[in-house]
Amino acid sequence: MNKAVLIGLLIVSGAMGFTLWAFSSSMTPYVDIHQAEQMGTRVQVRGKILHNTAHWSFTKHTLNFMLEDSHKDEIEVVYHGPKPESFDTAPETAATGIVQKQPDGTLVLESSSMVVKCPSKYDDETKSALRGAYGKA
């Protein structure tokens, strides 16, 4: 085997290993709040936004709110970043982050990205819009 092929194989295998590593670290698993508290790694938690607890700080750029998962467990989410446009009307969200212990002992999901489900935005959009078209006609 000549040197060129050897170097080529080296690049390919190096890239493959690196890709796998990057891939596994980029995919964050979906877990419930209980698991998230146990794991301490980057996870995605899905649940209901309790809107009356939401507080947006314009100066700190943080959004605090309580998230309730399907087991009715609750956790405080501190989301860092611009407030998602449809947050106020969204029933649900999936927040990506790490659960961290605060100085006062409470557990908080420090989130850096959040996917927000829009209410009824994609549900049967065409049909409802068509209904409107008739209203006008």
């Binding site: 000549n2 995919m27 829009c118 209904r131």
Partner: protein, 829 residues
Amino acid sequence: MSVGQFGTFAIVSGLILSLITIGLFIARLSKPENRLLKIISRLSYTGLAASIFSAFGALGWIVYHREYQYDYAVQHTSNELYNHWFRFAATWSGQEGSFLLWAVWTSIIGFIVCYKAGKYENRVMPIYVSVQGFLCAILLKQSPFLLFLFKHPGMPGVPTEGLGLNPSLQNYWMTIHPPTIFFGFASLLVPYSYALAALIWKDYDDWARAVFPYALLTSGVLGLGLFMGGYWAYETLGWHGFWAWDPVENASFFPWLAMITLVHGLHVQRARGGMARTNLFTGILGFSLFLVGTFLTRSGALASKGPNGQLLSVHAFDDISKSGLIIMEIMLIGYAIVGFGMWLLRLKQIPKQNTTGDNLVSRDFAFFIAVILMLVSCAVVTLGSTTPLFLSWFHHAPMAPQASFYNKVMFPLVALIAITLGCVPWLAWRRTDGDTFLRKLMWPWLISMVFGFGLLLWVQVAQRQLINTLDPQTLDSTMHNWISPAIQRMSVVILGTLGFLAALSNSMLAYRVLRKRPLAAGGWIAHVGIGVLILGVIVSNTFEKTQEITLKQDDGPRTVFGYTFDFVGMTGKAPYGRPIDPDYDQNNHIIIKVTPPGGDSTASGDSSLSFLMEPRWYVPKPSMDEESMGNPDTMYWPAIHKSLGHDLYLALASQPAMNMYRVDLMPGGHVALGPYQIVYLKPDIHPLDYMGALCGIVAPGMKPIPIEPGMKWLKDSTGHPVMNDQGAPIIFKQNEPIPGLTFADGAPGVVILNSLNATTHSADLLFSLPDMPATWNIPLAVTYKPWINLVWMGVLISVLGIMISMVNRTIENRRDFQAAQGKPNKKKK
């Protein structure tokens, strides 16, 4: 015959003619000298192309003339779409229309292939035409010519209004970007057909000559299409980026990577006779990957909203119908299996020629490494983008790797590509003497080192600022959040320096070659472009600064990054209405006066340096449907002030908010609001339907004006109130114009019932009146992007270089052909 019947007929005739054409070309294989057969087969192809053009024309007619009896027109256009270009461009805004666009380009390119292929015509055309057949079949299964009432049998009649073109598509790029990128996609079929024909007829060498100009054409046009898409995103989406590793973006990126790999491999094969097997592989790969991408973006795998309802791509196509999807699957699997199967079958026979040997200091080795790096990049991007597909097979929640995955993996690959680019101009084929190579490389290397040192200083100075301005969201998505800041800075400096070296080395050689044989410089010019692009991406991302500010009307200017921003006003009717107002102007310009550093921002001062920037705010037609009124889908368009060295990018951070004058009253109460007197008589409550507050307003010197601001329950078609997901009824507030009180521009004063207490009946009212106008809060994201122009320049230089190469190879082929005609026995190398 109606236009829809004509279109359907055209597609049927296209399908039949494609089968006939395939048969005729195959028949010619055994009778290559038969002139009659030649004429008939080409005529048949012309008929096929004409059918496809007719179908496209029919669809264009339906969309342009808003023939709402056809479902496609209802779905993709509307009465409000008045711009003639957009009215026509709406033709390719849907699934079926873009398939037709693909078919049209395939037919046009097919003429060139057919008439210029020479001895390959009969071998290539049957493969080529089969794709047109498949496209016709898909369009028959998922016809764009279906009548509206046929598709929606429950509907009472033909609508008089369509759903319209998505506002983000109402942009001049919509007229030019899709045709460009689809030309690129369609042309991927040429290398595929040639490669497959080469494998079938065991012609492993000469096909490389014939296909070279096409591979360059595809690379150039796809590159141009990618550039347009990136620029479009930068200009309209408002997140001051141009590439997000979105699956739909990647779906056009990985075929491009396959094509430039092919171009490099073909270059080696033509110059040195090596890489025959690789080239046949990448020729097959390009079109196959395009089919993978098409399947990925149209099968609904990305739009399947999974557990969170999130779309995995911002460019969501509506789902293809089941039967159309099956044909897509057959196509994807069929072309991939036939192509790669043939390749595997012939692999042992294809002559192997190792040109690299042990000479690592040679252009052969540089090309070998380059091809490997590009194929690996292609594999990474393909695998990353197709993850949602794989996961959906295992019934796993759909997920897509984040942008950081691609940034991480591409970083070392791009660094290695940049090193190779920087060295290759100083390497000769076969072998280069090590000392000679180092001597030639020395000067560009030294200059790059000086540049790199400067870059390092810049990074050090800018980095404190960067840490302060980057919010965690941006940090998360930028390249190097996975390593320490020190390594992060170093990697930025290294990659920037390597990009500079690549641009410098290649421009030195390009300059030399340009003076002797201008057309031969294309490759080097393309490399210069890639170097400039790498440098541009690094510099514009690293030194980008973003800060959010809120401009308050009447609150004076704000200064960010040395620029002073002053709210001037807003066009349209919006200032005194709310976005859900039916009179709402859909095209609001928020006018902001910007004074750059060194300018005089005071009102009385010299404003010669100042300029206006107008980010726009769009709310789609509100009255289509009551449901959408509660949740209008607003869009923001950023404003960009371009200069050579940097862009100033201004986007709305969120919806502008109005500060109206607020009045709290009990029934029977009254209060003074500036010169006005407000009286609240009594509430008017109809539970689950409507509630209002009967009020009056007295302006100085005028009779009292009765007003009744109110709010309405949202109801479904049966008259029951609609509940939101929390189980509470959806109620929306209405703006009540006050007819007697008008602003200078003729807009009426406005009152809104903000809330009405159900037990105490106290009313909370909001006013905007001529003497007490509401003021605006404009939340803005200000981004300073230095040297972003290097990105655009880099891509355009690269495309230019590729196009020069294409012309060069075409001329070369013609010369070879003429030489071969003159001396038929001339032996090929």
